[in-house]
């Protein structure tokens, strides 16, 4: 199945893209997305347990992803 992965700020700079499409096995969890992204060039700049969002709400790494979901890897936020 295919999921959309969003990267922002320093994480997007590290990977060189702000959006990816990943092919994952059925039953994969949000944490699997992080593992895959950390294996990419520049991926080690991301911490092993970053903040995560699934479909625009904070999520744990154990949340199950489904086809078409949007997973975001969230750098330390700095609004205000």
């Amino acid at each position: 199945m295919t999921v959309r992965v969003l990267l922002f700020a320093s994480y997007a700079d590290a990977i060189g893209q702000n959006e990816l499409t990943l092919e994952l096995d059925d039953g994969s969890v949000v944490g699997d997305v992080v593992s895959r992204v950390r294996e990419m060039a520049g991926g080690r700049a991301l911490p092993p347990a970053p903040l995560l969002a699934l479909n625009a709400a904070y999520s744990t790494s154990a949340a199950v992803v489904r086809a078409g979901d949007e997973v975001a890897i969230i750098p330390p936020v700095a609004g205000g």
């Binding site: 700079d13 625009a56 904070y58 975001a72 969230i74 936020v77 609004g79």
Partner: protein, 146 residues
Amino acid sequence: MSTARLTTQPIDSTSLIREVAADDRGAIVLFLGTVRNSNEGRPVNGIDYSAYDAMAVAEMQRIVSEAGSRFSGVAIALEHRVGTLSVGETSVAIACSHPHRAAALEANRYVIEELKRRVPIWKREHYLDGTSEWVDPLRRPAEAAP
């Protein structure tokens, strides 16, 4: 009745005040976050703000809704700007109104602290020496403390 939104345009704080003003309000508290000319001793001449737009708006709406539950009767207008801002410009504005001042003040504090803690917005500071860096508040224990 509360609102939360992102904008790419300069923030008009007067319009936020107007949104929450009403005859039964005895207090209106306005908070403005503005771009400071230095950070950790380094001269700053501007900040680029970016957001995960859909989630930032959803999270800001959750925060004003929580504030409405905690401080019954409060009305809130929250606006955060994204894009390139110069020193002195307003990056965030929060207007809270309530029949009485205590709830208006506390609700405003709640909204800005929660926004800084959890809304997915990032800033890249541009320094006078021509360099720039993503700001990571977690690397600054003194500033991260509530």
